[in-house]
């Protein structure tokens, strides 16, 4: 088991896997999301494109909702229909 010499960045990233660190990062993420949402309410959209996007919470809802819907639709509905074994065409 050879120890790989790591540069400062590699060492830093490895350290982030220590217990407790991932949770820390998650909390930083969620906090920044809240800040962004508040900013979104504060700063108005001068030029709405779609009509609906004049509403303050449009974009967060859009991003989250669409993201969830997309992943669900793709992985649970579409992929099961078109999934085949890797060597389906005999190319490999």
């Amino acid at each position: 088991m050879t120890e790989e010499k790591k540069g400062f960045l590699g060492q830093f990233l490895e350290n982030q896997l220590a217990p407790g660190r991932p949770k820390l990062w998650r909390n930083i993420f969620l906090t920044s999301l809240a800040v962004i949402a508040v900013l979104g309410v504060a700063i108005k959209n001068r030029h709405p494109h779609f009509g609906y996007d004049a509403y303050p919470f449009f974009w967060p809802v859009f991003g989250l909702g669409l993201g969830l819907a997309l992943i669900f639709a793709v992985k649970k509905i579409i992929q099961p229909l078109i999934k085949r074994p890797e060597d389906h065409y005999g190319d490999l």
Binding site: M1, T2, E3, E4, K6, G7, L9, G10, Q11, F12, L13, E14, L17, R26, F29, L30, S32, L33, I36, A37, L39, G40, I43, K44, N45, R46, H47, H49, F50, W59, P60, V61, F62, G63, L64, G65, L66, G67, L68, L70, I71, F72, A73, V74, K75, K76, I78, Q79, I82, K83, R84, P85, E86, D87, H88, Y89, D91, L92
Partner: protein, 595 residues
């Protein structure tokens, strides 16, 4: 010629490709590879607009050096990309791969500078050949088969283009390459459009892209992701701006690409589907056709080449180092390939449109332009695609490649990545960042300068909106990260239809046509061949008996006559004298008195 400077960027690439096989075997020739891209960068900044290099060939005027704002902005980014790509591939010893890349880039530049369809077609085919080899030279069974399919498909696309341009010549009498107003579409224009759409990977003609790009060489795919599709975007921008069908097709492409990218397991295949999606943005922009969306399409192409190249470079580094590009086999690599991860993230955030990176200043211009033009569905579709982009390329790929919930495994062997690959990635990453922070750098070269001032990417609302969109999409990913976990699978795409057609044609040739051929061969043998032999025998007899007889006969006859006449010279002086006097007097008398 001080006011009119022109240097065709293809020239050095072509010469390099021609000279390469003859250079000696040691490694020093690799440094020469950097000369053509440097020359091309210089040319891209200094070529003056106009029609240069018009040559006359077979009665046609070919314009090899058409330079204007649109071609210059593409030429710039092509040149920069060629430099980064060649730096990235300096470690490759296989001259064949370098030649293929050089020829490929030659074709790309040639298409940009083409002022007429014939030149365009020639360089189009050159690109197709170069890129075929970039896939084939990976030298695995999978890659060779993929390159073959790729070549067949692109040749078919080229034939569509050829048919279109010839038909167009018949209708309009010229080969000039310029904008075609949407209302005046003829059959020829549709054929040309189809040919361009093949290279632009417009759905449903796109399936060659995810089939071939993941199977190219590590360095080859980096080139391919930039040139084929962006050349197609350029030619679409030049010939078909404002065609509504492109707006629709582009939106479909954008969404289609991210849908498939979200379900794929192969890292470079995800990126390939992403090319389809991003090119969809550009095609939609061209379809809408306003000055702002055309600017947006150009800007997007510029930025896309840079960050897509970087994405493929980073994924290529992972493949080179870890030996696989399947996400389910990767993971836990962040601490062991930190800089690759950083470069990847720079590109990933660019492609997602995160402020500070160049994707932000280009993508949003297209969407804003579409919305300005009251194309609500186009703009909406592009926003949907933005969400999907961030989720699949910005989050899914790096998460499962570099982290994936796995700890770094010290037993896993990672090949050390050569320095030139890092340099290539760094070059592109720096450009992505600087263009994002200082968008003027990009906007200065856009073709429609008059509307550039109308768009302000760094307006506060734009930044906040982007952050909101991306942030909450990221939340969606975080919530669904188990669901989106990739597994080994082949997702059926339109290539199922292509293969069906291919098999059908093969069956058609094998069964009925070969049956007809068998019958024909029998007929030929029994009847025609016998007849031919008979005819030959007769001709030979005629030649010997008749013709030779006459010719030889006359020759011998004359010779015999000669012998006869020579008898007159019998050596007797008295006969000579007598003959002389008699003959002379006879002749004289004949003419004096007879006539």
């Amino acid at each position: 010629m001080a006011t009119s400077e022109f240097y065709h960027p293809s020239l050095a690439f072509l010469m390099m490709a021609a000279v390469l096989p003859f250079l000696p075997g040691n490694r020093r020739w690799k440094w020469l590879l950097l000369l053509p891209p440097l020359a091309a960068v210089y040319a891209a900044f200094t070529n003056s607009p106009g029609d240069h290099l018009t040559i006359s060939w077979l009665g046609q005027t070919l314009k090899l050096g058409h330079v204007d704002a649109l071609s210059q902005v593409f030429a710039q980014v092509f040149a920069v990309m060629s430099l980064a790509g060649l730096i990235f591939s300096l470690h490759v010893n296989d001259k064949g791969q370098h030649m293929a890349a050089l020829l490929y880039v030659t074709g790309g530049f040639g298409c940009l500078m083409a002022g007429d369809y014939l030149t365009l077609f020639a360089f189009w085919e050159l690109m197709s050949i170069g890129s075929t080899f970039l896939v084939m030279l990976n030298r695995t069974r999978e890659s060779v088969l993929a390159s073959f399919r790729y070549f067949l498909y692109h040749t078919a696309g080229g034939l569509l283009l050829l048919a279109g341009l010839l038909l167009r010549h018949k209708y309009t009498g010229s080969f000039d390459f310029g904008p075609i107003p949407p209302g005046t579409a003829t059959c020829a224009d549709w054929l040309i459009l189809a040919g361009f759409c093949v290279n632009a990977a417009v759905v449903p003609l796109h399936a060659w892209l995810p089939d071939a790009y993941p199977r190219g060489t590590v360095t080859g795919s980096v080139f391919m992701c930039a040139y084929t599709t962006k050349t197609a975007v350029y030619v679409l921008a030049r010939a078909f701006p404002g065609w509504d069908i492109l707006a629709v097709a582009g939106t479909i492409m954008a969404v289609y690409g991210v849908v498939f990218a979200s379900m794929e397991n192969n890292a470079r295949k995800i990126l390939s589907y992403h090319i389809v999606s991003q090119v969809g943005y550009m095609v939609a922009g061209i379809g809408v056709g306003t000055a702002m969306t055309l600017n947006g399409a150009s800007a997007h192409a510029y930025a896309h080449i840079l960050y897509k190249g970087l994405l493929f470079m980073a994924a290529g580094c992972v493949l080179y180092s870890a030996g696989t590009q399947k996400l389910d086999e990767l993971g836990g690599l962040a601490s062991r390939l930190p800089w690759v991860m950083v470069c990847y993230m720079v590109a990933a955030l660019s492609i997602s449109g995160m402020p500070v990176f160049n994707g932000f200043v280009s993508k949003t211009m297209t969407i804003a332009g579409a919305a300005e033009d009251h194309r609500t569905w186009v703009a909406l579709g592009l926003e949907v695609a933005a969400v999907g982009t961030f989720i699949s390329v910005g989050l899914k790929l790096p998460y499962f490649a570099f982290w994936g919930g796995k700890k770094p495994d010290p037993e896993r062997k990672l090949k050390p990545i050569p320095a030139n690959m890092y340099v290539g990635m760094a070059l592109l990453a720096v450009l992505c960042l600087t263009q994002g922070v200082y968008p003027e750098m990009l906007y200065k070269y856009l073709p429609y300068q008059e509307v550039v001032a109308e768009y302000h990417p760094w307006a506060t609302w734009n930044v906040v909106q982007a952050l909101m969109l991306l942030g909450f999409s990221g939340l969606a990913f975080y919530i669904m990260r188990r669901v989106i976990e990739p597994h080994k699978a082949l997702n059926l795409d339109f290539d199922w239809f292509y293969r069906l057609i291919g098999r059908g044609v093969l069956w058609l040739i094998c069964k009925p046509i070969s049956a007809i051929d068998a019958v024909w061969t029998i007929v030929w043998d029994k009847v025609a061949l016998r007849l031919l032999k008979l005819l030959a025998a007769f001709s030979a007899w005629f030649d010997r008996a008749a013709i030779d007889g006459v010719v030889d006969g006359s020759a011998y006859g004359v010779k015999g006559l000669g012998h006869l006449t020579a008898l007159l010279q019998n050596g007797r002086l008295q006969h000579y004298l007598g003959l002389m006097v008699v003959l002379a007097l006879l002749i004289f008398a004949f003419f004096w008195y007879g006539l």
